[in-house]
């Protein structure tokens, strides 16, 4: 703790759990999900203030027409950073943080499945945030909007490195999000406590579980897009530049294929929070658990197929416009149904109007408005007037603030007692709530009308057209109420932490497992778990005369799948989105060949030979696994070494092919074929390399004698899945790049 600590004392402190807790670095090195969760939420709070100040400055500039308070370029950087910050550095971290804290408790687990991965996922957030904001010092923040449309985001039109920082920061943040999702899936599938079957999961857990699947399918598509834009900007690729054969619209497809699921990734956790709070404060179970659970799955699946509704004015053609309109309107149904379920939960209840419930009521009404304006955007013809105007800005702020922020406010007030052992102040909470309701509606309701009056979005100023002036002034005024609300919230958090009323285990008389332990919970979460037979174990205990109906088999002794297997399979699923996007991009340009090199430059027979090596390495790995089962150390290591050699030979063959192409003047920048070819095969090669490194580590561990523990066994198998997956990807790449030109 001070300069005179000796090495021995340091090690004792670190190794002794009791002392470690007091060690100042404990929080920085923690792998405890509860502390990681708090770190996530505090980080989100810091960026919330930064993002809020950005918004404040923007609204000040927009308060009056023809304003010169800010330079246009400054304003453009502000709205880019505001959007990016709020989405990636505020909403996502805060919902991941809440899920991180509550989910393991709700299923009766000791921690998340992969605690160190959990910490890694968190640290991606501040590092990504710092990377993004470093751009300010390195030539200026990006000024291209949070979705960075090409060609504006390409080097000829955005020559400073702001966009590069944006892309790399988002890449890092994306990897962090995917890590969290993998962890969530593995935790829910593999770490449930005795009696906690999948059908008894609280809705908060179920919805976050479903959400994790959206994350693993959508974020990798963003990563593919970011890779493409970085290749364009830094390596002279041409994915999105039309004058070299690229397509600006392709960026929109790739980005929104991520971007639309992203908004559900943010919204679903809000639904999860509200689905816990409303029942507790209505003193009734959620109305129609199965329907809320099923509609979450429907939303998750449908969300992957509606992205074109962001592109109704880009000229996709009538058939595509219509089909995306159909799918977008369809997704409104499960979303809307939920609002009815939540309302029906309140009907017939005995509602308590504590702050969490107030937030949920505001959520319901505001989300309803957001959903209805959303359907208006799904209607193509209406969208042709309202898109890219303040009407759209109003819509998505009703979702992001009116729904999500309000749900989070309620959730914080609800779970703060569990996290800290003290209640937040009800009166300060009410001040926060009412100021936020007034400020939010003041700012954003009027923006619907501004949009209908023709005011486009992303403008640093506007002419003095009729009514635009006072409407904008009103919108700006609301910001002050919201700022006051935020300040009171921070004050509430700080003072309640030190002087709040002691909460006890279950201050709200709630029914899920997190309330069956102390506040805050001990390090291992539970001393003992209550019997779990229904969805509300604590209700059953408190109401033995009318317990909930038993869900599923009475004594559910479930054999849970190995968490390493679930983890690696989730990771592999995430990679399908990444490679899928790259293969589709390859095919897109393959179908529109330009001048220059093409697949005919490729030496197919040679590649086939090297491919056989790669496929053979899957066989040798399998042999290695078999040998491990039989506990034959020599065989295991031998076959493993052979696997590594075969993989290295494959990579060598790839490197050789690259070398030959470079020699004949074909590199990333030559034409669309070369750009997509090197991108696709390059990323595959990178994955092979990472696989080889993993296998080398196993070889070393095995050599050092650690090969007979069961932990090694399960991890080795998981590595095997990854290695086979890399092979499967190569099958597709082989077929698409090398074989397809021969048959067509």
């Amino acid at each position: 703790m001070n300069g005179t600590t000796t090495i021995a004392e340091f090690r004792d402190a670190v190794l002794d759990p009791a002392k470690r807790a007091h060690y100042r670095l404990a929080w920085l090195s923690t792998v405890d999900h509860k502390r990681i969760a708090v770190l996530y939420m505090l980080t989100a709070l810091v960026f919330f203030i930064i993002g809020g100040v950005e918004a404040l400055f923007m609204r000040l500039q927009l308060a009056v027409p023809n304003n010169h308070f800010l330079q246009p370029d400054t304003f453009n950087q502000l709205f880019t950073m505001h959007g990016t910050t709020m989405i990636f550095l505020v909403v996502m971290p805060v919902v991941f943080g809440l899920a991180n804290y509550v989910l393991p408790l709700q299923i009766g687990a000791r921690d998340m499945a992969f605690p160190r991965l959990n910490a890694f996922g968190f640290w991606c957030v501040p590092f990504g945030g710092i990377l993004l904001h470093f751009s300010v010092l390195a030539g200026g923040a990006p000024a291209v909007g949070w979705f960075s449309y090409a060609p504006l985001s390409e080097t000829p039109y955005s020559s400073s490195p702001g966009v590069d920082y944006w892309a790399v920061a988002l890449f890092v943040l994306g990897i962090g999000s995917i890590s969290f999702a993998i962890n969530t899936i593995a935790t829910v599938i593999s770490l449930r406590g005795p009696g906690m079957t999948m059908r008894r999961l609280p809705l908060f857990t179920w919805i976050n579980f479903v959400n994790a699947f959206i994350i693993i399918f959508a974020l990798p598509v963003l990563n593919a897009g970011l890779a493409m834009i970085l290749i364009d900007r830094l390596l002279q690729g041409h994915f999105f530049l039309p004058f070299r054969g690229g397509s600006p619209v392709l960026w929109q497809h790739v980005f929104w294929a991520f971007g639309h699921p992203e908004v559900y990734i943010m919204a679903l956790p809000a639904f999860a929070m509200v689905s816990e709070i409303i029942p507790v404060f209505s003193r009734k179970p959620i109305f129609g658990y199965e329907f809320v659970a099923a509609s979450s799955v429907a939303i998750a699946v449908l969300s992957l197929g509606v992205w074109g509704h962001h592109m109704f004015t880009v000229g996709m053609g009538r058939p595509l416009d219509v089909f995306f309109a159909i799918s977008s309107m369809l997704i409104a149904i499960p979303t809307g149904v939920k609002v009815l379920n939540w309302t029906a939960t309140m009907l017939g209840g005995r509602i308590r109007f504590d702050v969490p419930m107030l937030c949920c009521i505001a959520f319901l009404i505001q989300f309803l408005v957001a959903g209805l304006t959303g359907i208006s955007h799904a209607s193509v013809a209406l969208d042709w007037q309202t898109k890219n105007s303040y009407f759209l800005v109003a819509h998505f702020h009703f979702v992001a603030v009116g729904a999500i922020v309000f749900a989070v406010l309620g959730a914080i007030q609800y779970w703060f007692p569990k996290m800290t052992g003290r209640m937040m102040s009800e009166s300060l909470g009410r001040w926060t709530f009412w100021l936020m309701v007034i400020g939010f509606n003041m700012t954003f309701v009027i923006q619907h009308f501004l949009g209908l009056l023709g005011m486009p979005r992303r403008v640093f100023t506007y002419p003095d057209l009729p009514n635009w002036g006072w409407m904008n002034m009103l919108s700006t005024a609301g910001v002050f109420f919201m700022s006051a609300s935020a300040l009171i919230l921070v004050w509430n958090l700080a003072t309640s932490f030190f002087r709040g009323k002691i909460a006890g285990d279950n201050p709200w008389d709630a029914w899920t497992l997190e309330w069956a332990t102390t506040s805050p919970p001990p390090h291992e979460n539970f001393i003992a778990l209550p019997p779990i037979r229904s969805r509300r174990p604590l209700w059953d205990i408190a109401n033995p005369d009318r317990p909930d109906p038993v869900v599923g088999e009475v004594s559910a002794a479930v054999a849970l799948p190995d968490h390493n297997k679930v983890g690696i399979l989730s990771f592999i699923l995430s990679e399908t989105g990444f490679f899928g996007a790259l293969i589709l991009a390859y095919l897109y340009f393959y179908a529109r060949p330009g001048a220059g090199p093409g697949p005919k430059e490729l030496d197919v027979p040679r590649t086939l030979v090297f491919s056989v090596c790669l496929f053979a390495s899957s066989f040798t790995f399998w042999r290695s696994e078999m040998a491990l089962h039989k506990q034959k150390r020599g065989s295991t290591l031998g076959w493993l070494a052979l696997t590594i050699v075969l993989g290295a030979v494959f990579l060598g063959g790839q490197a050789n092919e690259y070398w030959k192409l470079f020699q004949s003047g074909v590199d990333l920048s030559t034409n669309m074929f070369s750009t997509t070819f090197f991108t696709l095969t390059g990323f595959h090669g990178l994955h092979v390399l990472l696989g080889l490194i993993t296998l080398l580590i196993f070889l070393w561990l095995g050599w050092e004698g650690d090969s007979v523990s069961s932990k090694f066994d399960s991890a080795f198998k998981a590595a095997g899945y990854y290695w086979h997956f890399v092979d499967v990807v190569w099958v597709f790449v082989l077929l698409t790049v090398y074989i397809l030109p021969l048959v067509r």
């Binding site: 330079q71 246009p72 370029d73 453009n76 449309y149 090409a150 060609p151 504006l152 039109y157 039309p242 004058f243 397509s247 600006p248 619209v249 003193r283 009734k284 179970p285 109305f287 129609g288 658990y289 329907f291 004015t313 000229g315 219509v322 309109a325 159909i326 369809l330 409104a332 149904i333 149904v337 609002v339 309302t343 309140m346 009907l347 017939g348 209840g349 005995r350 509602i351 308590r352 109007f353 309803l368 209805l372 304006t373 359907i375 208006s376 209607s379 013809a381 209406l382 042709w384 309202t386 898109k387 105007s389 209908l452 023709g454 486009p456 979005r457 002419p463 057209l465 009729p466 909930d548």
Partner: protein
Amino acid sequence: MQTSNALDPQSPQARAIYDLAIPSTIIFALIFVIVTGAIIYAILRFRGRAGEPDPKQIPGNRKVEIAWTIIPFLIVILLLVMTLSAMNRADPPPAPSPDLVVTGHQFWWQADYPGSGVITANEIHIPTGKPLSVRLESKDVLHEFWVPELTRKMSNVPGQPNHIWLQADKPGAYIGQCSEFCGTQHAWMRILVVAEEPSKFEEWQRAQLQPGLATTSDATAKGLALFQTLTCINCHAIRGVAGADLRVAPDLTHVGSRKQLGAGILENTPANMRLWLKSPQHIKPGALMPDFTFTDEQLDQLSEYLSTLR
């Protein structure tokens, strides 16, 4: 005063969208009132008091769930059918060849009339009562053409021509703006559509086809000479001036006849013309026209010359 009110359609295409908006809004408003009504009813009727036992624990009701899934489904089908009809009326298939080509640049619009050969910038004249088939293109980044009272918005995508129909019922000036963020001065990429009776429109076209006026005074002659020698012709075209036929920047043949300068940032007066020439970067920082260092005399001559180009 000109407005750009989407709820005040001035063409059949805009009206088709408006005709969809009204019934849709009524449907949405009804849904809002019913659901919010239920929420408010719940708040008022089911207040809990401290110490009260918990109420009957209703898990759900399958029939209700099915009903309130089917009803939204039917509403959605209705909205879809209405939307399809509006789409067809607001956006019929394009004509085989366009009447007007609007090209987006950072941060101004070029308008070409293939039929007559007129080329102008930012201020687009059209005859009333006739639908014009407009092709939208871009020379650099994404832009978006949006004149709310006349038509749907549509992106100008570089490398991919798009199409809309543009029509105005009555004579008048209709304003719009670029609505796809395109860089620093996206906010000042405004559009002015001037709709005139067909005969007046013909007059305008004829006038636009004339070359730039011959210079009438010593000052304007000097202005023309400056235009030719001080690199203006590297970007700007003036019909009738030798060597001035590049259109990297707005065509200036009839710049004096336009109501605004700088794609809407200034009213077009000789004084403003002079201000613009003195320092475009001061008026519209980030515009692609750099600041030149003119002397006061040169500024007088240039602005006078350009103002005569009516």
